[in-house]
Amino acid sequence: MSTTPGIAIRNISKVFGSGADEVRALDDVSLDIRGNEFFTLLGPSGCGKTTLLRLIAGFEQPSAGEILLDGAAIAHLPPFRRPVNTVFQSYALSPHMTVAQNIAFGLEMQRMERERAEARVAEMLTLVQLGGLESRRPAQLSGGQQQRVALARALANHPKVLLLDEPLSALDLKLRKEMQIELKRLQLESGVTFVFVTHDQEEALTMSDRVAVMSSGHVLQIGAPTDIYEHPRHRFVADFIGDINLLEATAGAPANGAVPFRLSGAQTLRGDAASAPPVGPVRLAIRPERAGLEPAGREGLAGAVDSIVYIGADTVYRIALDEGAGLFMVRVQNRTGARSTYAVGDAVTVVVPPEAIRVLSD
């Protein structure tokens, strides 16, 4: 992995409209995307992720800030002068051109000799496994095939950076899973930096080297998928990615290597002293699969089974904690088949290992 950043976003702001209609889509965003990295911008719609992608592509101009590509400022360049290509959400294939003409378009615009361009098109068709379809028109292709053409058209130019704007959102679930693996393969084989925009957290976790979680124009956390999932720092990040239990608690003074967290009732959780929270009110985040269920009377949080949802590989229990401390989700792997150990209404104990408790910073 190269040491110089592939793309450096420096204090970028983007404001749309003016006066009362002013919308601040990006607010002083800075981040580095490394060379040869699969980098994902993850967030709900309206968080600014697509705007950031369009700024890198050159379709929008930043209101403030600088974009560097391999150290050179590119924010002032029009899209056709940037060594960056985009795969659009709607694919944006030219309906009046064949598959081969679509893929060759960028090469033709760069005045590549015909023979070299034809060889490159053939190479791309093999890469995206569309051999034999070169003379079809986009309307004659399935969604997944159009997706592959859009990828081939962008990659044919050997860009330094490939921008992907929610390219899988129009595909059905099975195809989407296939394309996730396919995209990762293409990224590894081509060695191109991928910047991927999505609102689908699962997509982000499965493909990315690193993920930036965005919300209302800000980047909240950047890290590897495991980092984002296991160590969310913000409530928003914890809540947006996967299911999570968020609990209000009061941290006590550490004793014997453990921190007592007292919930809104009188129940107490034992946390790792290494998390070292300040004494006072804190917000805790616990993944459902990290907690366990034991019969009533064990050490942990007492409650009663409120609902049971069977989801195939796992079963999710919602436990109504005693003393009105709220609902707590526990996700248990179905190792013994579909038969549930507990029934609705059963008194149970939720067991939370100390290392599974995350203290959020806001």
Partner: protein, 301 residues
């Protein structure tokens, strides 16, 4: 349930929808056209009356041939040259209308949605004025003592008035002005349908603005350009009022020639024959044009 009821008897309802149009076209177009076709193969009497029942191909022959003093036939290209001039003028008008209309339509497409309807309205404003009034307005502008010549002389660009009125130029200007909306609106309709992301994609793939126009926008706007061109070309070819008012006696066009046969010349068979030859030429031209268009669109390479 509502859809079920709508579907019940849908076929007969659809016939009811189209019936008035079929009736009007049938009674008021096909029937007179048939009558004209009939007249065109009849003989003309000495006093200009139509001799019903006396068939003759003379009207058609007279378009290209004339009977010499010795009784033999010689070729007469006077009428053919009127046809040629009419075609030339209609083509020129179409080309000018396209050159003016395409950028106009493109500009309209690029405006925010809330302004576009206003712009469409403004394009159609000339239709709100009577055709004659509009043509007389052009006379006031173009004549030797008109606004344009006054302006040129006031600016010192010319010392004497330039003859603008009663020329092919003034006819082309008048026709372009009259038929411009027929060019702008279909092109606008096809431009508006273009997915703007295709333009962004082309920019992204290193196409300059000109290349985007040539390789993406023009091909996708082609259906609108074709229908706009047809809508301008065909009425121009048969136009009558504008050439009569803005064109001098030297610039006789087919429309005026045909009118002349039904009016002053009192030669209905010849007028009908001219009208049918014009119709045949238009139909053949369009058929060839559309066939080439279709073949071009279906071409794989």
């Amino acid at each position: 349930m509502a859809t079920g009821r709508l579907r019940l008897g849908a076929a007969s309802r659809q016939y009811a929808l189209i019936a008035p149009a079929v009736l009007i076209i049938g009674v008021f177009m096909i029937a007179p056209l048939g009558l004209m076709a009939y007249v065109s193969v009849l003989s003309r009497g000495t006093y200009g009356q139509v001799l019903w029942g006396e068939f003759s191909g003379a009207a058609y022959l007279n378009i290209l041939f004339e009977r010499g003093l010795d009784g033999g036939f010689g070729i007469n290209l006077d009428y053919a040259s009127i046809f040629a001039r009419s075609f030339w003028l209609a083509l020129t008008t179409m080309a000018i209308a396209l050159a003016v209309g395409f950028p106009t339509a493109l500009y309209m497409t690029l405006q925010p949605a809330r302004y576009r309807n206003l712009l469409i309205f403004m394009v159609t404003i000339p239709f709100w004025t009577n055709l004659l009034v509009r043509n007389y307005a052009w006379i006031l502008l173009l004549r030797d003592t008109g606004l344009i010549n006054h302006g040129l002389q006031w600016l010192g660009l010319t010392s004497e008035p330039i003859t603008l009125l009663y020329t092919d130029f003034s006819v082309a200007v008048g026709l372009t002005y009259s038929f411009l909306p027929f060019m702008v609106l279909p092109i606008y309709a096809s431009l508006e349908k273009i997915d703007f992301r295709l333009v962004e994609a082309a920019y992204d793939l290193y196409a300059s603005r000109l290349q985007v126009l040539r390789r993406v926008i023009l091909p996708l706007a082609l259906p609108g350009i074709v229908s706009g061109s047809i809508l301008v070309f065909v009425p121009c070819l048969g136009s009558y009022v504008t050439p009569a008012l803005l064109g001098g006696s030297k610039t006789l066009l087919i429309g005026n020639l045909i009118q002349l046969q039904f009016g002053a010349a009192r030669n209905w068979p010849f007028g009908s024959a001219l009208a049918f030859v014009l119709l045949a030429i238009v139909l053949v031209t369009m058929a060839v044009y559309l066939m080439r268009q279709r073949r071009g669109a279906g071409r794989p390479a």
